[in-house]
Amino acid sequence: MCRGIQHPVRGLFLRSYLAQVSRDKLPDIGSEYEGDADTVVDAVEFVLQNFTEMNKLWVRMQHQGPAREKEKREKERSELRDLVGKNLHVLSQIEGIDLDMYKETVLPRVLEQVVNCKDEIAQYYLMDCIIQVFPDEYHLQTLDVLLGAFPQLQPTVDIKTVLSRLMERLSNYAASSADVLPEFLQVEAFSKLNNAIGKVIEAQPDMPILGVITLYSSLLTFTLHVHPDRLDYADQVLGACVKKLSGKEKLEDKKATKQIVALLSAPLDKYNDIVTALKLSNYPRVMEYLDSETNKVMATVIIQSIMKNKTRISTADRVEALFELIKGLIKDLDDAFHDEVDEDDFKEEQNSVARLIQLLHSDDPEEMFKIICTVRKHILGGGPKRLPFTVPPLVFSSLKLVRQLQGQEENPFGEEESTTPKKIFQVLNQTVETLSNIPAPELALQLFLQCAEAANDCDLEPVAYEFFTQAYILYEEEISDSRAQVTAIHLIIGTLQRMHVFGVENRDTLTHKATGYSAKLLKKPDQCRAVYACSHLFWVDDQDNVKDGERVLLCLKRALRIANAAQQMSNAARGSAGSVTLFVEILNKYLYFFEKGNPQITVAAIQSLIELITTEMHSDSSTLDPAADAFFASTLRYMEFQKQKGGAIGEKYEPIKV
């Protein structure tokens, strides 16, 4: 009867009403309407017919009316689509439809209508509807039929979206419970989907690259959920992607590159482990097609994954593979002539590379040395802007290795090739040298001194001397900023003071130089402090042959002269003497060596220094300096305290009048 109404919209509404009204009167299993005459089959037939007719009416709407109103018609159609889709919904609700009936009757009939109507809008909507409305188990079991329909659809239908949605549903289904996974294997879901996608892409050679990647992205997610242990499947998907990408230029499309990042991040998220992702041979190949900006984004994603999961990268091969992947961060790629990188971003990137380097570790010294050399090879290509960030962590990794080897006995019968501290120091020397050329002399100096200390602990005198030489050269030739000089001097003196490996000659040379530098610092107070710090170079507690009382006194006296000169300068320049702080500091140093038992520091010397300070403080031209007063007062208190201690110390301090 409804056939009589051929006007599309009216027909649609009429049939929709029919569907609604008949809904609960269908002779479904267990319904009151079931009987000998009317069974589920009839119910199904009824709904299918209604569906078919409604679809025909719906499609007819497309062609009615003038061509210029096409857009308006399509909009109208879009609004009415749920009416048609309702039938499918009803079908899905019919309990009497089991898998067999779905397979034999329902799906084929529905698909027949969908394909034959040759209407783009209908096809897109209805395929999607089928996927959303019927249960996932059914889809799995009818995968062949379902996928077989896709190539028969109109070429303008957005198949990739529908396919992606299908795969998404199936992925979620797989994720919902482990019990359903065998089903996937049984129906060979992966290969069917893979083939279907291949066919779709082949059939649409003009599909934009974004579409291709989206499809493969969905397939990859599907694969990771359903076959997490089949790395070869995942690799296949990536391989297909590479094939499709090859022959094209590096991607410019922002959306496409975003999709690729999603594609590549999926295995990382799933496996929580870059090491597993590195086993996918096509993974790096996909990355080749990223422009340098996106390569950096992906590299950062990878590093963050490593840091979050504390992945141990423990072989040189893996390090090599990893650094190939993240090369966008390590060096300037060819097409990176363009924009200025934002400085803060650049710093953040390089700092994350630095942190990454800390995580590369193997307990086996040989392997660790290989790792260090691999990293070194890569970072040296990074250019002057990157080296100050990447060299220090590598240096400290190397020093840690040296320390580890220190603990082990030197094997005199060891292999020629085996790793020794000496070898590592050679590498270190060359590595730190690269910093001097950038220029980053302060950093290089600090690192050379660190290496010197490590060499000292290994009893390698010539190596330690070489490092000191490098540091001194840098100081003389490259470090001209006053503040930097002061810091450098402190580090030089502090390090040298701790060296026990040097013989007398070497030590003397280095000490002489250090005191020379100290006396030539720009500001007098800095000079004074550096010179009295040098006094410690001549007296080291735990080294009996370094207890030269005279040289200590010479340093302290020199410091006094400089302090005096500073006072005079202050008088001349400002009309008042400067603060007595320096004198009090020197007094403290006198006390230090006095207590250590330096025979050259006499009670008389201390006494006269105390008087000098007292006089200076009370003189008319002195500057008011409460800090210096307090310092002097607490020094005197200290001396009093030592007197009260009694014993050997008390005896020493006894003669001093405070």
């Binding site: 710090a533 230090y592 200290y638």
Partner: protein
């Protein structure tokens, strides 16, 4: 009670990738009133992280610090105590307690917080207390072998300060505490 966190020598990212997660989970914002940092963070990110823990942040410069504007030393007063901070690479010989005592006298402080050696120390002498919180990340040090990550929390209450040291040993956080009382005469100037 005033909680003061003393922490330093993290050397991120030169020598360590990050704070140990067990420490991170202990250091929550809002619990600490002051942070005293001996230096060698080294990068701004660490500075920002400390700021989120507590806005009252005092830092002195370590030789590897990226920001060269941090002062060489700093003094501040918390309650009845005067505290001084100095990284320590400037004090020679490094780690020498007598030389550090001199700095303490010079800065005229009750508590001197210093670093550089990556070795925890809490040492009382006639002029006051010297505290070295060690390295919070257990960073490599030419001075100390086998550095355990450590930091210090000081609880200042009137004339008394309780120093809690947290050390990460073999994956477990161990806590120790030391009491110091300030005598009234020591503060007379």
């Amino acid at each position: 009670m005033v909680l003061v966190l003393a922490i330093g020598d993290l050397h991120i990212p030169h020598r360590a990738p990050d704070l140990p997660p067990k420490f991170k989970s202990m250091l929550v914002p809002g619990k600490i009133q002051h942070i005293i940092c001996t230096g060698n963070l080294c990068i701004e990110e660490v500075h920002d992280y400390f700021k989120t823990l507590c806005p009252d942040l005092h830092i002195t410069r370590g030789e590897y610090d990226e920001d060269s504007r941090y002062p060489e030393n700093k003094t501040l007063t918390i309650g009845q105590f005067k505290l001084g901070i100095c990284h320590g690479h400037q004090v020679i010989p490094w780690g020498d307690l007598d030389s550090l005592a001199m700095v303490q006298r010079q800065l005229d402080v009750d508590i001197l917080v210093t670093g550089h050696t990556h070795q925890f120390k809490a040492y009382k002498h006639e002029g006051g207390v010297v505290i070295n919180p060690g390295s919070a990340t257990g960073a490599y040090s030419s001075f100390t072998y086998d550095v355990n990550p450590s930091f210090v929390l000081m609880d200042i209450d009137g004339l008394r300060v309780v120093v809690y040291v947290y050390e990460l040993i073999d994956g477990e956080v161990k806590v120790d505490k030391i009491d110091f009382k300030k005598t009234a005469t020591a503060s007379a100037h």
